[in-house]
Protein backbone atom coordinates (compact mmCIF):
# COMPACT_ATOMS: atom_id res chain seq x y z
CA UNK A 1 0.00 0.00 0.00
CA UNK A 2 1.14 3.52 -0.67
CA UNK A 3 3.16 4.95 2.23
CA UNK A 4 1.02 8.08 2.33
CA UNK A 5 -2.15 6.06 2.79
CA UNK A 6 -0.47 3.85 5.38
CA UNK A 7 0.60 6.91 7.36
CA UNK A 8 -2.89 8.46 7.05
CA UNK A 9 -4.55 5.25 8.15
CA UNK A 10 -2.19 4.94 11.12
CA UNK A 11 -2.95 8.48 12.24
CA UNK A 12 -6.69 7.96 11.84
CA UNK A 13 -6.72 4.88 14.02
CA UNK A 14 -4.46 6.53 16.62
CA UNK A 15 -6.82 9.52 16.72
CA UNK A 16 -9.97 7.40 16.90
CA UNK A 17 -8.60 5.80 20.06
CA UNK A 18 -7.61 9.04 21.74
CA UNK A 19 -9.56 10.90 24.39
CA UNK A 20 -9.47 14.18 22.52
CA UNK A 21 -11.40 12.64 19.66
CA UNK A 22 -14.10 11.37 22.00
CA UNK A 23 -14.44 14.81 23.59
CA UNK A 24 -14.38 16.48 20.19
CA UNK A 25 -17.13 14.22 18.83
CA UNK A 26 -19.21 14.64 21.95
CA UNK A 27 -18.91 18.43 21.76
CA UNK A 28 -20.13 18.72 18.18
CA UNK A 29 -22.73 15.99 18.55
CA UNK A 30 -23.77 17.65 21.79
CA UNK A 31 -24.19 21.05 20.18
CA UNK A 32 -26.61 19.66 17.61
CA UNK A 33 -28.52 17.72 20.25
CA UNK A 34 -28.63 20.83 22.46
CA UNK A 35 -30.00 22.90 19.58
CA UNK A 36 -32.78 20.39 19.03
CA UNK A 37 -33.52 19.98 22.73
CA UNK A 38 -33.68 23.74 23.26
CA UNK A 39 -36.37 23.83 20.61
CA UNK A 40 -34.46 26.05 18.25
CA UNK A 41 -35.96 24.31 15.25
CA UNK A 42 -39.41 25.30 16.37
CA UNK A 43 -38.58 28.93 17.09
CA UNK A 44 -38.60 31.87 14.76
CA UNK A 45 -35.82 34.35 15.32
CA UNK A 46 -35.07 37.30 13.04
CA UNK A 47 -37.22 35.78 10.38
CA UNK A 48 -35.43 32.44 10.24
CA UNK A 49 -37.00 29.26 11.38
CA UNK A 50 -36.50 25.54 11.23
CA UNK A 51 -33.42 23.87 9.92
CA UNK A 52 -31.77 26.98 8.49
CA UNK A 53 -31.75 28.52 11.92
CA UNK A 54 -30.22 25.39 13.43
CA UNK A 55 -27.49 25.33 10.80
CA UNK A 56 -26.69 29.03 11.16
CA UNK A 57 -26.42 28.72 14.93
CA UNK A 58 -24.36 25.56 14.59
CA UNK A 59 -21.97 27.25 12.17
CA UNK A 60 -21.52 30.27 14.44
CA UNK A 61 -20.69 28.04 17.41
CA UNK A 62 -18.44 25.85 15.26
CA UNK A 63 -16.52 28.90 14.07
CA UNK A 64 -15.41 29.59 17.63
CA UNK A 65 -14.79 26.01 18.76
CA UNK A 66 -13.45 24.17 15.71
CA UNK A 67 -10.25 26.22 15.25
CA UNK A 68 -9.14 25.93 18.87
CA UNK A 69 -9.92 22.21 18.95
CA UNK A 70 -8.02 21.56 15.74
CA UNK A 71 -5.07 23.71 16.77
CA UNK A 72 -4.66 22.36 20.28
CA UNK A 73 -5.15 18.68 19.46
CA UNK A 74 -2.91 18.83 16.39
CA UNK A 75 0.00 20.56 18.08
CA UNK A 76 -0.25 18.43 21.20
CA UNK A 77 -0.36 15.26 19.19
CA UNK A 78 2.49 16.02 16.77
CA UNK A 79 4.81 17.76 19.23
CA UNK A 80 3.80 15.23 21.91
CA UNK A 81 4.68 12.32 19.62
CA UNK A 82 8.09 13.85 19.08
CA UNK A 83 8.64 14.33 22.80
CA UNK A 84 7.50 10.82 23.67
CA UNK A 85 9.87 9.14 21.21
CA UNK A 86 7.25 8.03 18.68
CA UNK A 87 9.13 9.83 15.89
CA UNK A 88 12.41 8.17 16.81
CA UNK A 89 10.94 4.76 16.15
CA UNK A 90 8.37 5.37 13.42
CA UNK A 91 10.80 7.47 11.38
CA UNK A 92 13.47 4.78 11.64
CA UNK A 93 11.23 2.74 9.34
CA UNK A 94 11.73 3.37 5.62
CA UNK A 95 8.83 5.74 5.17
CA UNK A 96 9.54 8.97 3.32
CA UNK A 97 9.20 12.19 5.28
CA UNK A 98 6.70 13.58 2.77
CA UNK A 99 4.49 10.48 3.05
CA UNK A 100 4.69 10.61 6.84
CA UNK A 101 3.95 14.33 7.14
CA UNK A 102 1.22 14.62 4.54
CA UNK A 103 -0.26 11.26 5.51
CA UNK A 104 -0.49 12.49 9.08
CA UNK A 105 -2.16 15.67 7.92
CA UNK A 106 -4.65 13.86 5.68
CA UNK A 107 -5.52 11.40 8.42
CA UNK A 108 -6.01 14.18 10.90
CA UNK A 109 -8.11 16.17 8.45
CA UNK A 110 -10.39 13.18 8.10
CA UNK A 111 -10.92 12.81 11.85
CA UNK A 112 -11.30 16.54 12.40
CA UNK A 113 -13.75 17.05 9.58
CA UNK A 114 -15.85 13.93 10.04
CA UNK A 115 -17.60 14.58 13.41
CA UNK A 116 -18.40 18.20 12.48
CA UNK A 117 -19.96 17.26 9.17
CA UNK A 118 -21.67 14.18 10.57
CA UNK A 119 -23.31 16.34 13.23
CA UNK A 120 -24.45 18.78 10.57
CA UNK A 121 -25.82 16.02 8.37
CA UNK A 122 -27.55 14.50 11.38
CA UNK A 123 -29.50 17.75 11.55
CA UNK A 124 -30.21 17.56 7.81
CA UNK A 125 -31.47 13.98 8.08
CA UNK A 126 -33.58 14.96 11.05
CA UNK A 127 -35.08 17.65 8.83
CA UNK A 128 -35.74 15.12 6.08
CA UNK A 129 -37.45 12.87 8.61
CA UNK A 130 -39.70 15.72 9.67
CA UNK A 131 -40.44 16.58 6.03
CA UNK A 132 -38.86 20.01 6.48
CA UNK A 133 -37.61 21.69 3.34
CA UNK A 134 -33.83 21.25 3.22
CA UNK A 135 -31.77 24.27 2.07
CA UNK A 136 -29.41 22.09 0.01
CA UNK A 137 -27.42 24.97 -1.47
CA UNK A 138 -26.75 26.31 2.03
CA UNK A 139 -25.83 22.83 3.25
CA UNK A 140 -23.36 22.44 0.38
CA UNK A 141 -21.77 25.84 1.07
CA UNK A 142 -21.62 25.19 4.81
CA UNK A 143 -19.89 21.89 4.18
CA UNK A 144 -17.41 23.65 1.92
CA UNK A 145 -16.78 26.42 4.45
CA UNK A 146 -16.26 23.90 7.25
CA UNK A 147 -13.89 21.92 5.09
CA UNK A 148 -11.97 25.05 4.25
CA UNK A 149 -11.81 26.23 7.89
CA UNK A 150 -10.72 22.82 9.19
CA UNK A 151 -7.94 22.57 6.57
CA UNK A 152 -6.78 26.09 7.36
CA UNK A 153 -6.34 25.51 11.07
CA UNK A 154 -4.91 22.06 10.53
CA UNK A 155 -2.21 23.64 8.34
CA UNK A 156 -1.51 26.28 10.98
CA UNK A 157 -1.40 23.54 13.62
CA UNK A 158 1.09 21.48 11.62
CA UNK A 159 3.33 24.54 11.18
CA UNK A 160 3.22 25.36 14.89
CA UNK A 161 3.94 21.77 15.86
CA UNK A 162 7.03 21.62 13.65
CA UNK A 163 8.35 24.95 14.94
CA UNK A 164 7.81 24.28 18.66
CA UNK A 165 10.02 21.61 20.23
CA UNK A 166 7.74 20.81 23.15
CA UNK A 167 4.03 20.21 23.35
CA UNK A 168 3.64 22.83 26.07
CA UNK A 169 5.19 25.57 23.93
CA UNK A 170 3.18 24.40 20.92
CA UNK A 171 -0.06 24.50 22.90
CA UNK A 172 0.72 28.00 24.15
CA UNK A 173 1.45 29.30 20.64
CA UNK A 174 -1.67 27.63 19.24
CA UNK A 175 -3.85 29.18 21.92
CA UNK A 176 -2.40 32.65 21.30
CA UNK A 177 -3.01 32.33 17.54
CA UNK A 178 -6.61 31.36 18.15
CA UNK A 179 -7.09 34.19 20.66
CA UNK A 180 -5.61 36.82 18.32
CA UNK A 181 -7.80 35.69 15.41
CA UNK A 182 -10.83 35.65 17.67
CA UNK A 183 -10.06 39.15 18.91
CA UNK A 184 -9.63 40.51 15.39
CA UNK A 185 -13.21 39.80 14.50
CA UNK A 186 -15.92 42.28 13.81
CA UNK A 187 -17.46 41.92 17.23
CA UNK A 188 -14.39 42.70 19.28
CA UNK A 189 -11.21 44.43 18.23
CA UNK A 190 -12.29 45.54 14.76
CA UNK A 191 -15.08 47.59 16.30
CA UNK A 192 -12.56 49.19 18.61
CA UNK A 193 -10.19 49.94 15.73
CA UNK A 194 -12.98 51.68 13.83
CA UNK A 195 -13.79 53.74 16.91
CA UNK A 196 -10.10 54.67 17.24
CA UNK A 197 -10.24 56.11 13.73
CA UNK A 198 -8.33 53.44 11.86
CA UNK A 199 -9.06 53.70 8.11
CA UNK A 200 -11.96 51.46 7.21
CA UNK A 201 -9.97 49.94 4.33
CA UNK A 202 -7.36 48.70 6.77
CA UNK A 203 -9.99 47.29 9.09
CA UNK A 204 -11.71 45.47 6.24
CA UNK A 205 -8.37 44.20 4.97
CA UNK A 206 -7.70 42.72 8.40
CA UNK A 207 -11.12 41.11 8.34
CA UNK A 208 -10.53 39.69 4.88
CA UNK A 209 -7.34 37.99 5.95
CA UNK A 210 -8.67 36.58 9.20
CA UNK A 211 -9.91 33.08 8.30
CA UNK A 212 -12.36 33.02 11.20
CA UNK A 213 -13.87 36.34 10.12
CA UNK A 214 -13.99 35.19 6.51
CA UNK A 215 -15.87 32.07 7.57
CA UNK A 216 -18.24 34.07 9.74
CA UNK A 217 -19.02 36.65 7.08
CA UNK A 218 -19.54 33.98 4.41
CA UNK A 219 -21.84 31.96 6.68
CA UNK A 220 -23.73 35.16 7.45
CA UNK A 221 -24.04 35.97 3.76
CA UNK A 222 -25.95 32.76 3.12
CA UNK A 223 -28.90 33.82 5.24
CA UNK A 224 -28.35 37.60 4.95
CA UNK A 225 -27.29 38.07 1.26
CA UNK A 226 -26.91 41.86 1.59
CA UNK A 227 -24.98 41.60 4.84
CA UNK A 228 -27.29 44.05 6.57
CA UNK A 229 -25.94 42.82 9.91
CA UNK A 230 -22.44 43.96 8.98
CA UNK A 231 -23.36 47.59 8.36
CA UNK A 232 -21.21 49.72 6.06
CA UNK A 233 -18.50 47.08 5.67
CA UNK A 234 -20.98 45.19 3.54
CA UNK A 235 -20.62 47.77 0.76
CA UNK A 236 -16.87 47.22 0.50
CA UNK A 237 -17.27 43.46 0.45
CA UNK A 238 -20.14 43.36 -2.01
CA UNK A 239 -18.73 46.12 -4.26
CA UNK A 240 -15.33 44.48 -4.52
CA UNK A 241 -16.26 40.81 -4.47
CA UNK A 242 -19.94 40.40 -5.20
CA UNK A 243 -21.78 37.61 -3.44
CA UNK A 244 -20.39 34.79 -5.53
CA UNK A 245 -16.89 36.23 -5.42
CA UNK A 246 -16.91 36.47 -1.65
CA UNK A 247 -18.15 32.90 -1.32
CA UNK A 248 -15.35 31.79 -3.60
CA UNK A 249 -12.89 33.79 -1.45
CA UNK A 250 -14.30 32.19 1.70
CA UNK A 251 -13.83 28.75 0.20
CA UNK A 252 -10.41 29.29 -1.36
CA UNK A 253 -8.53 31.65 0.96
CA UNK A 254 -8.52 29.44 4.10
CA UNK A 255 -7.51 26.44 1.98
CA UNK A 256 -4.62 28.39 0.48
CA UNK A 257 -3.58 29.76 3.87
CA UNK A 258 -3.73 26.30 5.45
CA UNK A 259 -1.79 24.77 2.56
CA UNK A 260 0.91 27.47 2.69
CA UNK A 261 1.29 26.96 6.45
CA UNK A 262 1.37 23.19 6.07
CA UNK A 263 3.97 23.46 3.31
CA UNK A 264 6.08 25.79 5.44
CA UNK A 265 5.73 23.27 8.27
CA UNK A 266 6.88 20.47 5.98
CA UNK A 267 9.91 22.49 4.87
CA UNK A 268 10.88 23.01 8.52
CA UNK A 269 10.11 19.38 9.39
CA UNK A 270 12.32 17.84 6.71
CA UNK A 271 15.24 20.19 7.46
CA UNK A 272 15.20 19.89 11.24
CA UNK A 273 16.18 17.13 13.66
CA UNK A 274 13.30 14.68 13.64
CA UNK A 275 13.06 13.25 17.17
Amino acid sequence: MNHLLLAARTDISESLRSRWFMVYTLVFGGIIVALFVSGLTESRVMGFSGLSRVLVTYLQITMAILPVFVLITTVRSVAGDREAGVFEYMLSLPVSLSAWYWGKMLGRFFVVFLPVVLAMFAAVFWGLGKAIEIPWVQVAYYTGFLLSLAWCFLGIGMLVSTLARTSDVATGIAFIIWLVLLLFMDLILLGLLVRQGMPSESVILLALFNPMQVFRTAAMMLFDPHLVLLGQSAYVILDNFGQLGYRAWALAYPVVLGSVCAWAGYSVFKRSDLP
Binding site: P94, L97, P275
Partner: protein, 296 residues
Protein backbone atom coordinates in the same frame (compact mmCIF):
# COMPACT_ATOMS: atom_id res chain seq x y z
CA UNK B 1 29.90 -0.59 4.68
CA UNK B 2 29.49 2.39 7.03
CA UNK B 3 31.83 5.30 6.73
CA UNK B 4 31.65 8.03 9.35
CA UNK B 5 34.03 10.93 8.74
CA UNK B 6 34.41 13.94 10.98
CA UNK B 7 30.86 13.79 12.28
CA UNK B 8 30.00 16.43 14.85
CA UNK B 9 26.69 17.28 16.40
CA UNK B 10 25.74 20.18 18.60
CA UNK B 11 22.52 20.96 20.42
CA UNK B 12 22.51 24.72 20.77
CA UNK B 13 25.98 25.30 22.20
CA UNK B 14 26.47 21.85 23.68
CA UNK B 15 28.70 19.60 21.63
CA UNK B 16 27.49 15.98 21.76
CA UNK B 17 29.68 14.42 19.05
CA UNK B 18 33.17 15.76 18.33
CA UNK B 19 34.45 14.96 14.85
CA UNK B 20 33.87 11.21 15.02
CA UNK B 21 35.67 8.96 12.51
CA UNK B 22 34.59 5.34 12.29
CA UNK B 23 34.40 2.60 9.66
CA UNK B 24 32.20 -0.47 10.07
CA UNK B 25 32.42 -3.40 7.69
CA UNK B 26 30.14 -6.31 6.78
CA UNK B 27 30.38 -8.94 9.51
CA UNK B 28 31.36 -6.44 12.18
CA UNK B 29 29.40 -6.72 15.40
CA UNK B 30 30.15 -3.51 17.20
CA UNK B 31 29.42 -2.84 20.84
CA UNK B 32 28.77 0.87 21.13
CA UNK B 33 29.35 1.54 24.80
CA UNK B 34 29.61 4.55 27.02
CA UNK B 35 27.98 6.15 29.99
CA UNK B 36 24.79 8.19 29.80
CA UNK B 37 25.34 11.29 27.68
CA UNK B 38 28.37 9.82 25.92
CA UNK B 39 26.74 10.33 22.50
CA UNK B 40 25.61 6.78 21.63
CA UNK B 41 21.99 7.62 20.90
CA UNK B 42 22.95 10.75 18.99
CA UNK B 43 25.34 8.78 16.79
CA UNK B 44 22.62 6.19 16.13
CA UNK B 45 20.12 8.90 15.22
CA UNK B 46 22.64 10.43 12.83
CA UNK B 47 23.09 7.00 11.24
CA UNK B 48 19.31 6.66 10.88
CA UNK B 49 19.14 10.04 9.15
CA UNK B 50 17.08 11.52 11.97
CA UNK B 51 19.56 14.23 12.94
CA UNK B 52 21.38 16.85 10.93
CA UNK B 53 25.12 16.89 11.57
CA UNK B 54 28.41 18.27 10.34
CA UNK B 55 30.68 15.80 8.57
CA UNK B 56 29.88 12.83 6.40
CA UNK B 57 28.10 9.54 6.94
CA UNK B 58 27.71 7.03 4.13
CA UNK B 59 26.15 3.60 4.17
CA UNK B 60 27.42 1.82 1.06
CA UNK B 61 27.90 5.23 -0.52
CA UNK B 62 24.47 6.59 0.42
CA UNK B 63 24.00 9.49 2.80
CA UNK B 64 21.16 8.53 5.21
CA UNK B 65 19.40 11.92 5.34
CA UNK B 66 19.29 12.41 1.57
CA UNK B 67 18.43 8.78 0.79
CA UNK B 68 16.17 7.99 3.70
CA UNK B 69 14.00 5.23 2.33
CA UNK B 70 16.80 3.48 0.42
CA UNK B 71 19.07 3.48 3.44
CA UNK B 72 16.43 2.67 6.07
CA UNK B 73 15.15 -0.28 4.04
CA UNK B 74 18.45 -1.92 4.89
CA UNK B 75 18.49 -1.06 8.61
CA UNK B 76 16.64 -2.93 11.33
CA UNK B 77 16.40 -0.77 14.44
CA UNK B 78 15.38 -1.67 17.98
CA UNK B 79 15.18 1.35 20.30
CA UNK B 80 16.06 1.27 23.98
CA UNK B 81 12.74 2.79 25.01
CA UNK B 82 9.61 1.49 23.35
CA UNK B 83 7.51 4.19 21.69
CA UNK B 84 4.18 4.86 23.48
CA UNK B 85 2.06 3.84 20.50
CA UNK B 86 -1.64 3.36 21.11
CA UNK B 87 -2.24 1.47 17.89
CA UNK B 88 -2.95 -2.28 18.09
CA UNK B 89 -0.07 -4.66 17.54
CA UNK B 90 -1.64 -5.91 14.31
CA UNK B 91 -1.74 -2.45 12.85
CA UNK B 92 1.84 -1.70 13.83
CA UNK B 93 2.98 -4.90 12.16
CA UNK B 94 0.94 -4.21 9.03
CA UNK B 95 2.33 -0.66 8.86
CA UNK B 96 5.92 -1.81 9.38
CA UNK B 97 5.57 -4.66 6.88
CA UNK B 98 3.98 -2.28 4.37
CA UNK B 99 6.72 0.34 4.47
CA UNK B 100 9.54 -2.24 4.77
CA UNK B 101 8.28 -4.30 1.82
CA UNK B 102 8.09 -7.34 4.04
CA UNK B 103 5.09 -9.39 5.11
CA UNK B 104 3.32 -9.54 8.47
CA UNK B 105 3.85 -13.31 8.42
CA UNK B 106 7.64 -12.92 8.34
CA UNK B 107 7.48 -10.67 11.41
CA UNK B 108 4.99 -12.90 13.20
CA UNK B 109 7.24 -15.90 12.64
CA UNK B 110 9.97 -14.14 14.63
CA UNK B 111 7.40 -13.23 17.31
CA UNK B 112 6.52 -16.89 17.67
CA UNK B 113 10.18 -17.89 17.85
CA UNK B 114 10.71 -15.38 20.65
CA UNK B 115 7.76 -16.83 22.54
CA UNK B 116 5.34 -13.95 21.95
CA UNK B 117 1.83 -15.22 21.25
CA UNK B 118 1.06 -13.02 18.27
CA UNK B 119 -2.58 -14.11 18.05
CA UNK B 120 -3.13 -13.15 21.67
CA UNK B 121 -1.60 -9.67 21.37
CA UNK B 122 -2.75 -8.91 17.80
CA UNK B 123 -5.62 -6.64 18.85
CA UNK B 124 -4.04 -5.23 21.99
CA UNK B 125 -2.72 -1.65 21.97
CA UNK B 126 1.06 -1.66 21.78
CA UNK B 127 1.41 0.55 24.87
CA UNK B 128 -0.54 -1.99 26.94
CA UNK B 129 2.01 -4.76 26.39
CA UNK B 130 4.58 -5.61 29.05
CA UNK B 131 8.17 -4.39 28.64
CA UNK B 132 9.31 -7.82 27.46
CA UNK B 133 6.46 -8.19 24.97
CA UNK B 134 7.19 -4.77 23.48
CA UNK B 135 10.86 -5.64 23.14
CA UNK B 136 10.03 -8.95 21.43
CA UNK B 137 7.71 -7.21 19.02
CA UNK B 138 10.23 -4.52 18.09
CA UNK B 139 12.89 -7.19 17.58
CA UNK B 140 10.45 -9.11 15.37
CA UNK B 141 9.86 -6.05 13.23
CA UNK B 142 13.61 -5.42 12.94
CA UNK B 143 14.48 -9.03 12.11
CA UNK B 144 11.39 -9.99 10.12
CA UNK B 145 12.70 -8.35 6.96
CA UNK B 146 15.79 -8.25 4.81
CA UNK B 147 18.38 -6.01 6.41
CA UNK B 148 22.13 -5.84 6.24
CA UNK B 149 22.60 -3.52 9.21
CA UNK B 150 21.07 -4.06 12.62
CA UNK B 151 21.12 -1.17 15.06
CA UNK B 152 20.11 -2.43 18.46
CA UNK B 153 19.90 -0.20 21.51
CA UNK B 154 19.98 -2.39 24.67
CA UNK B 155 18.00 -5.01 22.72
CA UNK B 156 17.91 -7.87 25.21
CA UNK B 157 17.46 -5.87 28.41
CA UNK B 158 13.84 -6.91 28.95
CA UNK B 159 13.97 -10.45 27.57
CA UNK B 160 13.64 -13.61 29.61
CA UNK B 161 16.54 -16.12 29.31
CA UNK B 162 14.73 -18.33 26.81
CA UNK B 163 13.88 -15.41 24.56
CA UNK B 164 17.45 -14.13 24.91
CA UNK B 165 18.74 -17.47 23.69
CA UNK B 166 16.41 -17.40 20.67
CA UNK B 167 17.41 -13.80 20.03
CA UNK B 168 21.11 -14.72 20.04
CA UNK B 169 20.38 -17.55 17.59
CA UNK B 170 18.55 -15.13 15.32
CA UNK B 171 21.54 -12.80 15.41
CA UNK B 172 23.85 -15.77 14.70
CA UNK B 173 21.80 -16.53 11.58
CA UNK B 174 22.48 -13.00 10.32
CA UNK B 175 26.06 -12.46 11.41
CA UNK B 176 27.58 -13.48 8.08
CA UNK B 177 25.68 -11.04 5.90
CA UNK B 178 24.81 -8.21 8.29
CA UNK B 179 26.74 -5.71 10.34
CA UNK B 180 25.46 -5.03 13.83
CA UNK B 181 25.75 -2.07 16.14
CA UNK B 182 24.68 -2.97 19.64
CA UNK B 183 24.49 -0.06 22.01
CA UNK B 184 24.73 -0.41 25.76
CA UNK B 185 25.99 1.54 28.69
CA UNK B 186 27.62 -1.63 30.04
CA UNK B 187 30.10 -3.67 28.04
CA UNK B 188 29.45 -6.87 30.02
CA UNK B 189 25.83 -6.84 28.79
CA UNK B 190 26.88 -7.15 25.15
CA UNK B 191 30.48 -8.36 25.28
CA UNK B 192 29.64 -11.90 24.24
CA UNK B 193 27.66 -10.71 21.21
CA UNK B 194 30.32 -8.62 19.52
CA UNK B 195 33.70 -8.81 17.85
CA UNK B 196 34.49 -5.14 18.17
CA UNK B 197 34.12 -2.48 20.86
CA UNK B 198 33.74 1.24 20.30
CA UNK B 199 33.55 3.32 23.45
CA UNK B 200 32.28 6.87 23.44
CA UNK B 201 32.95 9.39 26.15
CA UNK B 202 31.64 12.94 25.97
CA UNK B 203 31.28 12.75 22.23
CA UNK B 204 34.72 11.30 21.50
CA UNK B 205 35.76 7.77 20.59
CA UNK B 206 38.08 6.71 23.40
CA UNK B 207 38.35 3.03 22.46
CA UNK B 208 38.05 1.29 19.10
CA UNK B 209 39.26 -2.25 19.33
CA UNK B 210 38.58 -5.77 18.15
CA UNK B 211 37.81 -8.42 20.75
CA UNK B 212 38.25 -12.19 20.82
CA UNK B 213 35.46 -13.64 18.72
CA UNK B 214 35.34 -17.22 19.91
CA UNK B 215 31.85 -17.41 21.32
CA UNK B 216 29.35 -19.00 19.03
CA UNK B 217 26.20 -16.87 19.22
CA UNK B 218 24.05 -19.97 18.83
CA UNK B 219 25.92 -22.08 21.40
CA UNK B 220 24.21 -23.55 24.44
CA UNK B 221 25.86 -24.50 27.71
CA UNK B 222 24.59 -27.31 29.91
CA UNK B 223 24.84 -26.19 33.47
CA UNK B 224 24.69 -28.06 36.74
CA UNK B 225 24.70 -26.16 40.06
CA UNK B 226 25.18 -27.73 43.43
CA UNK B 227 24.18 -25.81 46.54
CA UNK B 228 25.18 -26.20 50.16
CA UNK B 229 21.50 -26.04 51.07
CA UNK B 230 18.14 -25.37 49.42
CA UNK B 231 17.14 -21.72 49.33
CA UNK B 232 13.77 -20.25 48.33
CA UNK B 233 15.11 -16.95 46.94
CA UNK B 234 17.71 -18.73 44.84
CA UNK B 235 15.07 -21.17 43.60
CA UNK B 236 12.88 -18.32 42.43
CA UNK B 237 15.75 -16.65 40.60
CA UNK B 238 17.12 -19.77 38.94
CA UNK B 239 13.68 -20.95 37.79
CA UNK B 240 13.48 -17.77 35.72
CA UNK B 241 16.44 -19.17 33.79
CA UNK B 242 14.50 -22.37 33.12
CA UNK B 243 16.42 -24.54 35.61
CA UNK B 244 14.84 -27.56 37.29
CA UNK B 245 15.85 -28.93 40.66
CA UNK B 246 16.60 -32.34 42.09
CA UNK B 247 17.68 -33.59 45.48
CA UNK B 248 15.32 -31.30 47.33
CA UNK B 249 16.47 -28.07 45.69
CA UNK B 250 20.18 -28.70 46.25
CA UNK B 251 21.03 -29.54 42.63
CA UNK B 252 19.81 -27.47 39.67
CA UNK B 253 20.20 -28.25 35.98
CA UNK B 254 19.46 -26.14 32.93
CA UNK B 255 20.76 -24.61 29.70
CA UNK B 256 22.39 -21.23 29.25
CA UNK B 257 22.77 -19.41 25.93
CA UNK B 258 26.50 -19.12 25.19
CA UNK B 259 26.55 -15.32 24.94
CA UNK B 260 24.62 -15.14 28.22
CA UNK B 261 27.32 -16.82 30.30
CA UNK B 262 28.72 -13.61 31.78
CA UNK B 263 25.31 -12.36 32.71
CA UNK B 264 24.44 -15.74 34.22
CA UNK B 265 27.62 -15.82 36.31
CA UNK B 266 26.80 -12.30 37.44
CA UNK B 267 23.45 -13.54 38.75
CA UNK B 268 25.14 -16.49 40.50
CA UNK B 269 27.64 -14.16 42.17
CA UNK B 270 24.78 -12.82 44.30
CA UNK B 271 24.43 -16.28 45.81
CA UNK B 272 28.13 -17.15 46.10
CA UNK B 273 27.82 -18.27 49.69
CA UNK B 274 25.22 -20.87 48.72
CA UNK B 275 27.04 -22.35 45.75
CA UNK B 276 29.10 -25.48 46.28
CA UNK B 277 29.78 -26.34 42.63
CA UNK B 278 29.21 -25.00 39.10
CA UNK B 279 29.62 -27.10 36.00
CA UNK B 280 29.27 -25.59 32.51
CA UNK B 281 29.71 -27.65 29.34
CA UNK B 282 29.08 -26.91 25.68
CA UNK B 283 26.04 -28.95 24.74
CA UNK B 284 27.18 -29.44 21.16
CA UNK B 285 30.43 -31.11 22.19
CA UNK B 286 30.82 -34.35 24.05
CA UNK B 287 33.39 -35.53 26.55
CA UNK B 288 34.81 -34.14 29.72
CA UNK B 289 37.64 -32.40 27.88
CA UNK B 290 35.15 -29.89 26.53
CA UNK B 291 33.78 -28.93 29.90
CA UNK B 292 34.31 -25.18 29.90
CA UNK B 293 34.17 -24.52 33.58
CA UNK B 294 34.04 -26.60 36.67
CA UNK B 295 34.17 -25.02 40.08
CA UNK B 296 33.74 -27.39 42.97
Amino acid sequence: MISIQGVSKQFRRVSVLNSIDLDIHHGDRVALVGSNGAGKTTLIRCLLGEYNYQGKIEIDGLEPGANRTRVLKRIGFVPQLSPPLKMPVGQLIRFAAGVCQSTPDAMLAICDQLGLDSAEVWRRPFNKLSGGQKQKLLISIALGRDTDLLVLDEPAANLDPEARHTFFQLLADRQQHAAMIISSHRLDEVAALVNRVVELDQGNIVLNDHVADQIDLASVLNCCLTLTRADAAFAETIREWGFVDSEGGRVWRGDIAGPDRLRFLGVLSRYAALIKGIELADSQKEGSADVQARIV
